[in-house]
């Protein structure tokens, strides 16, 4: 063996990735065949790397950390200045009140609703919203910023034909915070929910762009999903109109992601 163990180990270092076969590498490989200690060294390096990879610490991000992170990103997305802390604190009090009230109402309601279709909870929340508080504004940007500072995910505020933007609020479903955009249409109210998927907020059974429809006490729900989120439009508009609006929301969502797709809004009426 003419090559030193140190040089052979450096040349055959296991993390180096693919290497050209040079005379020096060939000499190192010949050294390895004859040197048990070098074989043990390389095996031990691989072994230490393997156990560190397999059982090394990978703590998940705590939920609060995750929420704060996505709220920060959402604020950056909507251009909300981070310095508006006084306003944020004021709205935090309002939001906390809403969340508490919604939570209590949810607990009360869930006691007698174990057998319900989970989708009906959208209709319940829509009805509760007539007594709720949040932000009152017809300005899409203002509403989007309000939601962005409170939700751990991106929520679009779509402009829908014949619907007038009224404001937004938060909702709690299965302990998960969601957003609700409120509209009016000729005196009727329509709510657009976006909530994280969860055990009690199950997405529609079918995938793709299918809209699932349900009714409860005169209110219709048109719900659809994207990965991780459930969307629902709720109101007492005719079911077909609500479904058409739901499809328009989906199209707008895609347009938001892929580019504009004009020409569909005129087809929807809210009679």
């Amino acid at each position: 063996m003419t090559m030193s163990c140190g040089k052979a180990r450096r040349l055959l270092w296991p993390d180096a990735g693919p290497r050209a076969v040079t005379p020096e590498i060939e000499a190192a490989e010949r050294h390895l065949v004859e040197c048990e200690e070098c074989r043990a060294f390389l095996e031990e390096m691989r072994h230490l790397a393997r156990i560190t990879h397999e059982v090394g610490p990978r703590p998940p991000a705590p939920r609060a950390v995750r929420d704060r992170l996505f709220q920060t990103v959402a604020r950056a997305r909507t251009g909300s200045p981070g310095a508006k802390q006084q306003a944020a604190a004021r709205w935090a009090v309002v939001a906390a009140t809403i969340v508490l009230a919604a939570g209590l109402a949810w607990v009360w309601g869930s006691r007698r609703a174990a057998e319900r279709d989970p989708i009906a909870s959208f209709a319940d929340d829509h009805m509760r919203a007539t007594r709720g508080e949040g932000i009152v504004s017809s300005d899409t940007a203002v509403v989007a910023r309000w939601l962005a500072s409170r939700l751990p995910f991106a929520m679009d505020v779509p402009t829908l034909p014949n619907l007038e933007l009224r404001g937004a609020r938060l909702c709690i479903m299965d302990g998960r915070r969601g957003g609700v955009v409120e509209y009016t249409a000729g005196g009727r109210s329509v709510s657009y929910f976006v909530v994280p998927s969860g055990p009690a907020v199950r997405p529609p059974a079918r995938r793709g762009d299918d809209v699932r429809v349900a009714s409860r006490e005169g209110y219709h729900v048109a719900a659809w999903q994207e990965p991780g989120l459930v969307h629902a439009l709720v109101g007492d508009l005719p079911e077909a109109t609500l479904v058409e609006l739901a499809r328009l929301c989906m199209a707008k969502m895609m347009a938001f992601l892929d580019g504009p797709r004009p020409g569909r809004e005129a087809a929807v009426t809210t009679n």
Binding site: R9, L48, A49, E54, V65, L69, D258
Partner: protein, 197 residues
């Protein structure tokens, strides 16, 4: 072995939703890395993660190859960390005792085999000890061993992220593994679990 996978971004590349999907997919690993880089201090790790996420959001439109999103996010996290360390007048990217080629060969030459730690420690004990041993490593060694051994990046990827030569990554890996092994062995001996080969 745990597998690291990179999913395709479902939303349109460059959109804010696509960014949030990418971030959501890797947020746990990024947090874990931030935690290790910050020596186990959660508040510092969260601060670093937020800073890195904002930088990534601002630069997301420049990410052309969506399958490279994971390495791109980690690169931003690591560089943000070292930029902050530099701002704190710490030379984080180089170690005075980094080994040159000859010194690396001498160190490799001196290696002595030992019993493997998982022979004597349970998986939970091992995970705790590895976490503690990682946090006790010098800063640059910790970054290298976490990126390569824990997160599974290649030596070349880690070198690009840290902006150091591959040979330096190799020598830091070796030194970090040697320290990890010695600390794990010490722990096992303290627990009277150690049995030599």
């Amino acid at each position: 072995m745990r597998q690291t996978r990179t999913k395709r971004i479902r939303s349109a590349p460059g959109s804010s939703r696509a960014f949030e999907e990418l971030l959501s997919e890797h947020v746990d690993a990024l947090f874990g890395t931030a935690l290790r880089l910050c020596g186990g201090h959660q508040a510092d790790a969260e601060d670093l993660l937020q800073d890195a996420a904002l930088r990534a959001f601002e630069g997301f439109a420049s990410l052309r190859e969506e399958t490279a999103g994971r390495a791109w996010l980690f690169t931003i996290l690591v560089r943000t960390h070292f930029n902050r360390a530099r701002a704190g007048r710490r030379r984080a990217e180089s170690v005075s005792s980094d080994l040159d080629e000859a010194a690396f060969e001498r160190a490799l030459n001196d290696w002595q085999p030992a019993a493997t730690p998982e022979d004597v420690l349970s998986e939970r004990q091992l995970a705790e000890r590895i976490g503690a041993a990682l946090d006790a490593l010098d800063h640059p060694l910790r970054a290298v061993v976490h990126l390569v051994d824990v997160e599974g990046f290649s030596q070349r990827e880690a070198a690009r992220m840290l902006e150091i030569p591959e040979g330096t990554v190799a020598s830091r890996l070796f030194r970090a593994r040697r320290i990890l092994r010695d600390r794990l062995a010490t722990t096992a001996r303290e627990l009277r679990l150690w049995r030599p080969l």
